[in-house]
């Protein structure tokens, strides 16, 4: 690990908060335009009805659910990096933990929009809350969809609190170096943190408990998301493998998104001494691991279908790889299971271009994984006369574009206004290694 003084860490991170140039605001403006496109499409759908999207019987869950699961999945590796690797004392997580946590928060925000969008009549959202509706009916907690409401809401609240608590000492660093309005803002945000050991005593314990609680939470949340499907009696969905399969896939996609975000960030902010090649290489190695799990799950699904001797189950899986959705299926297999194997080659996992390219491919593959799972099972259900096809409409594409733009818009705003690298955790890392001055 490279030797960095505490002052160098502070200087590097504070430099990211310098007033941005015209290029930055241009990109932010473009992303905001994308958000407006998505909002306009959603507005149009509210105006004319849910039929503006292409989701109809038998495929009632189209891109809205695909994007929901995709974004929840992206969120998961943030918690893996910030909580699970914290408990495992993996030092390479420290430089990217803050950005990964931020990714979690914004990805959950983006994911959380899709159930609202898919509701159609969004003003009926209170049906999902534990309050009686006008017919004095309460939500039914036997439904996996209600499990999902509880799990995602909990995940969002916990992620935001974990994220904010982690930033408290860094807010104080910025406050102590700032002047004027910025000083006032960070004085409020830091809640008067003075780094007293009486504060550190409680903070360290509380942060550890946060990590310990976030770890089972992250596993439960994507398990619950998987049960939206697994508890439904549809061929290809109704299997016990779904929970671990979804959790591994979520972490796989999230790690790829971490690379997609970190590689430009370290270059733009000249943070190569903090987000080192070792850090990126460690993420790549973890992607190999999760890619192998995901590949194993793809194979196991086929084994389960074959072993069940259930003709419908076997046919659904045969059609996945050879039928109308074969292209999407093979994109999924190649991008998620085969391409990451290139990271076994050291020259590739230490090349910025390869790392970035493969991270994009994994993201594409993981989006198609959700497409294959959600669409292919219900499009080829038990009864052949009920089979149908599905293609997203322009409104759905617009909303999807809006969701991607919203995520990157929020992330872009974050990296220039709040500390995107945890100064405190970097200092702790240097201190543990005994390399700081």
């Amino acid at each position: 690990m490279e030797k960095l003084s505490f002052a160098e860490i502070d200087n590097t991170v504070n430099a990211t908060l310098e007033p941005p140039g015209r290029m930055y605001w241009t990109v932010v403006a473009l992303l905001f335009c994308g958000v407006l496109v998505g909002a306009a499409c959603w507005g149009w759908q509210i105006l004319v009805g849910i039929g503006a999207g292409g989701q109809n019987s038998p495929v009632n869950w189209g891109t809205y659910l695909i994007n929901f699961v995709f974004w929840v999945g992206i969120a998961h590796s943030g918690t893996l990096i910030s909580a699970i690797l914290y408990l495992l004392r993996a030092g390479w997580r420290n430089p990217i933990a803050r950005a990964a946590e931020t990714m979690t928060v914004f990805a959950v925000c983006t994911a959380g929009l899709f159930p609202f969008i898919h509701l159609g009549r969004v003003w009926m959202v209170y049906y999902m809350l534990p309050v009686p509706n006008q017919r004095t009916l309460w939500p039914n907690f036997q439904s996996p969809l209600m499990f999902d409401v509880v799990a995602i809401s909990t995940y969002f609240i916990v992620s935001v609190l974990f994220w904010y608590t982690g930033m408290l000492p860094d807010f104080a660093v910025i406050r102590d170096r700032a002047a004027g309005v910025r000083k006032k803002i960070f004085t409020v945000l830091s809640l008067g943190w003075t780094a007293r050991y009486e504060q550190w005593r409680h903070y360290s314990r509380g942060y550890l408990l946060f990590a310990a609680l976030a770890t089972p939470l992250v596993i439960s949340v994507h398990s619950v998301v998987s049960w939206d499907f697994a508890l439904g009696v549809a061929p290809g969905w109704h299997t016990t493998i779904f929970a671990p399969y979804f959790v591994a896939g979520a972490i796989h996609s999230g790690l790829a998104m971490v690379l997609t975000l970190m590689i430009p960030m370290r270059r733009i902010f000249n943070a190569q001494r903090i987000i080192t090649m070792h850090v990126l290489e460690s993420v790549a190695k973890t992607i190999v691991f999760t890619g192998l799990i995901v590949g194993f799950a793809y194979g196991t699904e086929y084994f389960i279908a074959w072993y069940s001797r259930n003709s419908v189950e076997m046919e659904v899986f045969a059609l996945r790889s050879t039928g109308d959705f074969a292209l999407q299926y093979w994109i999924m297999v190649v991008c998620n299971s085969l391409v990451p194997l290139l990271f076994f080659i050291r020259r590739i996992r230490t090349s910025i271009i390869w790392l970035f390219a493969i991270s994009i491919l994994v993201n594409i593959g993981m989006w198609f994984e959700r497409f294959v799972i959600i669409i292919s099972s219900v499009a080829r259900d038990f009864l052949p006369h009920a089979w149908g096809d599905y293609a997203p409409t322009g409104i759905e594409y617009g909303i999807m574009l809006g969701s991607f733009c919203l995520f990157f818009f929020l992330f872009f705003l974050f990296v220039k206004h709040l500390p995107s690298i945890s100064m405190t955790e970097m200092k702790e890392l240097q201190h543990q290694a005994g390399t700081h001055d």
């Binding site: 505490f6 002052a7 502070d10 534990p130 009686p132 004095t136 009916l137 309460w138 939500p139 039914n140 907690f141 036997q142 439904s143 209600m146 499990f147 509880v150 799990a151 809401s153 909990t154 609240i157 916990v158 609190l161 974990f162 608590t165 000492p169 104080a172 660093v173 406050r175 102590d176 170096r177 004085t187 409020v188 809640l191 008067g192 943190w193 003075t194 780094a195 007293r196 050991y197 009486e198 504060q199 550190w200 005593r201 409680h202 903070y203 360290s204 314990r205 509380g206 408990l209 946060f210 609680l213 089972p216 939470l217 439960s220 619950v224 405190t424 200092k427 702790e428 201190h431 001055d437």
Partner: protein, 175 residues
């Protein structure tokens, strides 16, 4: 007004020296009023004799409360329906565990935050006269109480221990 009405902050470049200073000061009559630093340090905590935080009790209480609240909510709302859904009994205790589990985590975390706020006494926006901005950056600050006539002696003592006292006029204030 106490006997030790002056507070002096000495800055140390690393936690080991700050911890040694705390240990040395505890052999004297000058009390260590506070220690500030940019990172948590086991050496300083040991020197100060700091005990483990009690925030975990808040977390535990929140978790227990959340578990029962989640279970109660699921049972209560299902009892209001009285409908058999998907062949499951009206009170399906096993799936309700999921609601109980999520509420356990949610209320553990909320109680954890509440515990942190209460125990760390945040928000605390009043000025701390002895707080030095360097302590959030790269220095460990040891705050020592003494009488006005002892100030030169305390400064000399802290300097011998490796402490820096830049802007000494600022560090010497009434408590």
């Amino acid at each position: 007004m106490t006997d030790h009405d002056i507070h002096i902050t000495a800055l140390f470049a690393d936690d080991t020296r700050a911890a040694d200073a705390v240990t040395a000061l505890r052999q004297t009559e000058w009390p260590v009023a506070d220690v500030h630093g940019p990172i948590p340090s086991q050496a300083i905590s040991d020197a100060l004799g700091i005990k483990t935080s009690g925030v975990g009790w808040f977390t535990l209480a929140g978790g227990v409360f959340g578990f029962f609240l989640g279970y109660f909510l699921a049972v209560f709302t299902s009892a209001r329906w009285g409908l058999i859904v998907s062949g499951k009994p009206v009170l399906s205790y096993i799936p309700f565990f999921i609601v109980g589990f999520e509420f356990t985590i949610l209320f553990s975390v909320l109680a954890n935050v509440l515990g942190l706020i209460l125990l760390m006494r945040l928000p605390a926006h009043r000025d701390l006269p002895c707080y030095r901005p360097e302590c959030s950056a790269d220095r460990f600050g040891v705050v020592v109480g003494c009488r006005r006539d002892e100030v030169p002696e305390v400064r000399r003592f802290l300097t011998e221990l490796g402490g820096e006292m830049p802007g000494q006029a600022d560090t010497q204030r009434d408590s």
